[in-house]
């Protein structure tokens, strides 16, 4: 940072603050491409160490740097702007750049994987429950209904209710599967929203810390960090997620001080995100188990009770 000519964002000096114009991103990309062309080979090495599905944005960055093509860089930034942040925040030949690139690459999208696991479990239980209901309605309940009709018995309310759902299940099992799918999807989106918001806020705040530490003008840093999490325009005067009040307060201090504080705020949001995932993961399994158990228990008791009445009557 000692050489002002190499400092990221210097081309913006004296220009008006960011207003959401795409030229800011273009300008930073152009500067990064000009400063870090030599890093293309290293970025390819980093990409090679990642799982195949995480490689494309890094390879796109490496291609843009190798060719010096800013438009290619802009296209790469639309799918993976996070890969560019260490380049925006580092001057030419910064010895810390490799570490920053590795840190960014090492931050895996593990939360998304956990969400898929979360979705798989309730769906599996729901399918099991529906399959069990279908089996009971097609076999056991049919036999019992015929038996009860044969004896002309007056059935208890629970038994009538259980038998009443048999034709219902037989007629609507297809829409039922669709509804179960929609419920699962809604639930997944809810989890994504609740956990994702904290994850996004953490990611935004950490990116902001890195950009602010590089002495990039605050408004431009907010804009660039916002693009990493696809956030709409943010205003420091009226903070709203992913720009938290604490992050906005930290931005009032000098860049290096602000960066330390922003890193701490990002850690706080990380803790929150992990906590929210934990809640959704431990809660779903037992509740679904209880629902399935109650369903099966209800049908069993409802069918069994009149049978005993019948035997009693026969005796």
């Amino acid at each position: 940072m000692s050489d002002p000519a190499n400092r990221p964002g210097d081309a913006a000096a004296g220009k008006p603050a960011a207003t959401g114009s795409p030229t800011i991103l273009e300008r930073y990309l152009a500067e990064a491409v000009a400063r870090h062309r030599d890093e293309a080979a290293f970025i390819r090495l980093v990409a090679a160490e990642l799982p195949p599905r995480e490689q494309p944005p890094w390879l796109a960055v490496a291609d843009a740097l190798a060719t010096g093509d800013v438009h290619r860089g802009l296209a790469a930034a639309t799918t993976g702007i996070a890969c560019w942040i260490p380049l925006f925040a580092s001057p030419r030949a910064d010895p810390r750049l490799p570490t920053r690139l590795l840190q960014t690459a090492a931050r895996r999208p593990h939360v998304a994987e956990a969400r898929w696991l979360l979705l798989a479990y309730p769906l599996a239980i729901s399918v099991l429950a529906l399959g069990l209901l279908g089996f009971l309605s097609a076999t056991v309940m049919t036999a019992f209904e015929a038996l009860f009709q044969q004896f002309g018995m007056e059935l208890p309310l629970a038994t009538r209710a259980a038998l009443a759902i048999r034709p219902f299940i037989a007629s609507i099992w297809e829409p039922l599967f669709v509804v179960a799918g929609l419920v699962g999807l809604t639930w997944w989106l809810a989890v994504r929203w609740s956990a994702g918001s904290s994850v996004s806020t953490a990611s935004f705040t950490r990116t902001l810390a890195r950009l602010v530490a590089a002495e990039i003008p605050t408004d431009e840093a907010v804009l660039l960090a916002g693009r990493v999490v696809a956030a709409p325009a943010l205003d420091r005067a009226r903070p709203r997620r992913p720009l938290s009040f604490a992050a906005a307060a930290a931005l009032d201090f000098a860049p290096r001080t602000a960066a330390i504080l922003l890193d701490a705020v990002a850690d706080c949001h990380d803790d929150r995100a992990r906590g929210s995932l934990s809640l959704s993961q431990w809660f779903v399994g037992p509740v679904l188990l209880g629902v399935v158990g109650l369903l099966v228990g209800f049908i069993t008791v409802a069918l069994f009770f009149p049978l005993l009445n019948l035997v009693g009557a026969l005796s």
Binding site: A249, F253, R256, A264, V265, D267, C268, R274, G285, G293
Partner: protein, 354 residues
Amino acid sequence: MPKPTSMTDSLLSRLRRFLRREWRRAAATWATRAESAAVLRLVAAAAAAGVPAATMIDAWAEDSRGGQGTRLEKAARLLRQGATATGAVAAVPGLVQDDHAVALAFGERISLVGPVVRAALAGDDLLDPTVRRTFRAAVGYLTVVLLLFLTVAGYMALRINPMLLQILESFGSVRPATLDRWFWIINAVAGFLWIPFAVAAAAAVISFSPVIRRIVIRPWSRPRRIAAALDLLAVAETGGQPSSQSVTMLAECQVDPRLAAMLARVPGSGPLGKRLAAAGLVAPAEAAEMDAPDAAHALVLHQIAADRRLRSRRRVTAVSEAIVPAVIMVMGLLVLLQALTVFSFLTDIIDGQV
């Protein structure tokens, strides 16, 4: 005389107010682990950056919901009035959890808030959702399975079994052996039915009373707290603090009286490992490792703490994963026995009829 509807409204609103007040009191007494860690992180970051912690705590209060937001505002006010972070934590009950309060107080005492907080949070298993998730899922499954079992068993005992006996009387038959065995089991289980209810009541009391919760949880959390204490001593050692002083200061900061007593028992002179072993904080083998001629005390202390945490985590995971299938199998066996009893009884009757 007030109208019945007004009386109902009044009762409902009083009930609502009572529930809300109790809920706030219960919920406002403890910060969650993440909320508590956030306070420490912000205080440590403010100390490292050389800015007033009050500014960050106040801003974080805006980002926080519920009782913790209010507590943070109070703490920020106290900090602005000149209180230390430890003073603010002590004056606002529930702002941070006990272990975190100890770390903060110790960090301030040895003027190493940043490193102490970093070490305390890096080794904090309760911030890791994996352990919590495993434990809570086990408790959740146990609760659900027990509730289902009690419902089914209660229904069978109260409704079905009398019917079976009535049918037997009508047929004038002798009770089948399977039914006798089943009644014996039911009677035996009924003798212990108070246990789940007592456990549920105790859990309710514990969850709504922080004081009782603290007392109940203390023995279980002691191994974790000893590991945390070793970590803090390692930080002090790295920071150049004389070990005898840091042990004394850590004892003064402790909230667990037994651990404080153990730390107070550490002799003032001699090799550190032997002194800690004399107080029961490390095993003799660990002490020998620590007192080896070329051993770095801080590194070995961190290593011992990490090993203990790993062992504790493995124990919790193993117990949580073993209890659930065991209980489900026992319940399943009881339900199977019940089903077999009833069906064999019906078969006997039908055979007799035929």
